[in-house]
């Protein structure tokens, strides 16, 4: 129910289709304009619901494009690099003539770190995989962007597909792989269509397939469509899903670079990470590494939601003050906001006064007790009840947990129950028990879903307890 608009959307759809015909889907990646819904294989948002009669008759509405602007010193992700297949061909033929080690060195020296949230150095990951003495290897593009407030991967898949595919091909070339797969969430039908079309175009031009550009390098790409499981954003769950298993998280090590898809060495990279590759290779490692600092280098996409005056996706230099992003780029808010949740539901909940002190930097966020994650920003209005927000977070992890580990499976439900009772006024929040539960989940969960959900809850307990101190039982 985007920005409180979903009630209206549901009502209108129910009137036209019948209440029993209305289902629910996960985030459709339209957080910049809200009122989103999915009908007959297409996504709609904004004022589209007012044209529901025409949509049912088969008319395609002109859903607004994502507002996207680069404010980076040198645009890597949004620029004109690779905007045509001719440019794609030129750059690829240059790379295929170069020594693989030289290309890998460039990626390593750029200090590019994974943009999915974990921040692992990309060059190091590719190097680990390239060292595996196995004939069959895979490249997986993680396009299962499910974080609320995030639509940067959707932007790249739909507006910059050549950059993403180029990154996959180069990765395949370096590690010695001949097949790759894009795992794209089913909630993004347009992304699937565009990527599929682009792959077919590249195949026709011998930029994909057998003996690319007359070399002995062959590479094929496939698409795997996600079926509505948030946990598939976690790499081992994603691999399980492609294999046709339940998307349950696996214990690591072994890491996917050693034992990944079909138990073969696999590089799993996020969409944004792969899309940065052509820009780095074209402009050189230094053009990327000189922005920001060593561990948070280059440019990063940041998504601003519909409570900003200028919602959209923006390319920013790492190290940019958050104050600039919020007020100069985002234009401030359309109504009073008390906190931002940065990095999806697992990211930190940061009071406005605290976020204004930070820069766009993975380490700086972590040091302050938050998480930059994927760089999506969801605004929490001044008048919103934080007990309900914590309840929402526990409910989210309870619904989306894969159920494999006890702290995740049971902890999420026990937390949700505590806040069910607090909202219903049947019991106060047992604060000691809650803190123990959060630590157990943090330390004992198998993956970042249930292991990181305590972070925003702890942030709220630290900064906003005054709002609900009468609802807390200090003794229990």
């Amino acid at each position: 129910m985007c920005a409180g608009t979903q009630g209206k959307v549901r009502k209108k759809l129910s009137e036209k289709l019948g209440e029993d015909k209305i289902g629910t889907m996960f985030c459709l990646g339209h957080c910049y304009e809200t009122s989103s819904f999915h009908y007959n294989g297409h996504n709609y948002s904004g004022n589209d619901i007012d044209q529901i009669d025409e949509i049912i008759k088969g008319k395609k509405t002109n859903t607004k494009n994502i507002n996207s602007v680069s404010h980076a010193t040198k645009s890597i992700l949004m620029g004109e690099n690779l905007s045509t297949v001719e440019k794609f061909k030129d750059l690829l033929s240059q790379i295929l003539k170069k020594d693989k080690k030289e290309t890998l060195q460039t990626i390593t020296e750029s200090n590019l770190c994974g943009r999915g949230g974990a921040g692992f150095p990309t060059g190091m990951k590719w190097n680990f995989c390239s060292q595996q003495k196995v004939k069959k290897k895979y490249v997986v593009c993680n396009a299962d962007e499910g974080d609320s407030g995030a639509f940067s991967d959707r932007y790249l898949l739909e507006d910059q597909p050549l950059k993403v595919l180029f990154g996959m091909i180069v990765c395949g070339y370096i590690i010695g792989s001949d097949e790759g797969v894009l795992y794209i969430r089913g909630e993004y039908p347009k992304s699937i269509e565009i990527i599929n079309r682009t792959i077919n175009e590249l195949k026709k031009l011998n930029l994909l397939g057998k003996d690319i550009l007359g070399t002995d390098f062959s590479y094929d790409l496939y698409i795997c469509i996600g079926q509505g499981a948030y946990i598939c954003g976690e790499e081992t769950a994603l691999i399980a899903s492609i294999e046709g298993r339940r998307a349950e998280v696996d214990v690591r090590p072994p890491y996917p670079t050693v034992e990944g898809l079909y138990k073969k060495p696999t590089v799993v990279n996020n969409v944004e990470t792969l899309a940065a590759i052509p820009g780095i290779l074209k402009h050189g490692a230094k053009s990327f590494s000189s922005i920001g600092n060593v561990k948070s280098a280059g440019t990063k996409l940041v998504c601003l939601d519909s409570l900003f005056k200028n919602p959209g996706v923006y390319e920013m230099d790492m190290g940019t003050p958050m104050k600039k992003i919020i007020y100069d780029i985002g234009g401030g808010f359309i109504k009073p906001v008390k906190a931002l949740q940065v990095g999806g539901p697992l990211g930190g909940v940061i009071p406005i006064k605290e976020v204004e002190k930070l820069n766009l930097d993975f380490q700086e966020f972590a040091k302050a007790g938050f998480m930059l994650g994927h760089g999506s920003i969801v605004s929490i209005p001044e008048d919103f009840n934080m007990i309900k927000y914590i309840h929402h977070l526990f409910k989210f992890s309870a619904e989306e947990s894969c159920g494999k580990c006890f702290p995740g499976r049971l902890g999420s439900y026990r937390g949700k129950e505590m806040f069910d009772q607090a909202i219903n006024k049947t019991n106060k929040i047992p604060i000691k028990l809650l803190n123990e539960l959060l630590i157990t989940m943090q330390k004992g969960s198998l993956c970042a879903l249930c292991g990181a959900i305590p972070l925003p809850i702890q942030n709220i307990l630290k900064y906003f307890t005054d709002e609900f101190k009468t609802d807390i039982n200090q003794e229990a």
């Binding site: 979903q6 015909k21 819904f37 496939y222 499981a229 298993r245 079909y262 519909s306 989306e400």
Partner: protein
């Protein structure tokens, strides 16, 4: 167990991907016949296919057969709470 299933699935690999086949089967299947065939073809147990199918929201029969329009799931998006 999962290591074995991974390797069995990997025999056909991405070209004839098991997950893709499951998606196709789930959209057509009115009885267990197709699932049995799929299990035999990939040399995995029927329970493996059933278990996986039941995990994914879009593969569940109630999602496929009853629903036409979809609104965003309440629990996923924090933004639902913005305006009371």
């Amino acid at each position: 167990m999962s290591k074995n299933i991974s390797k069995l699935s990997g025999r056909k690999g991405l070209k004839d991907n098991l997950f893709k086949r499951m998606i196709n089967t789930a959209s057509k299947s009115k009885n267990g016949k197709e699932i049995k065939q799929l299990a035999e073809e990939y040399h995995v147990g029927m329970s493996t296919i059933h278990g996986a199918e039941s995990f994914y929201e879009f593969l569940r029969p109630e999602h496929k057969e009853k629903k036409h329009g979809y609104v965003m799931e309440v629990h996923v998006c924090a933004q639902e709470h913005k305006v009371k």
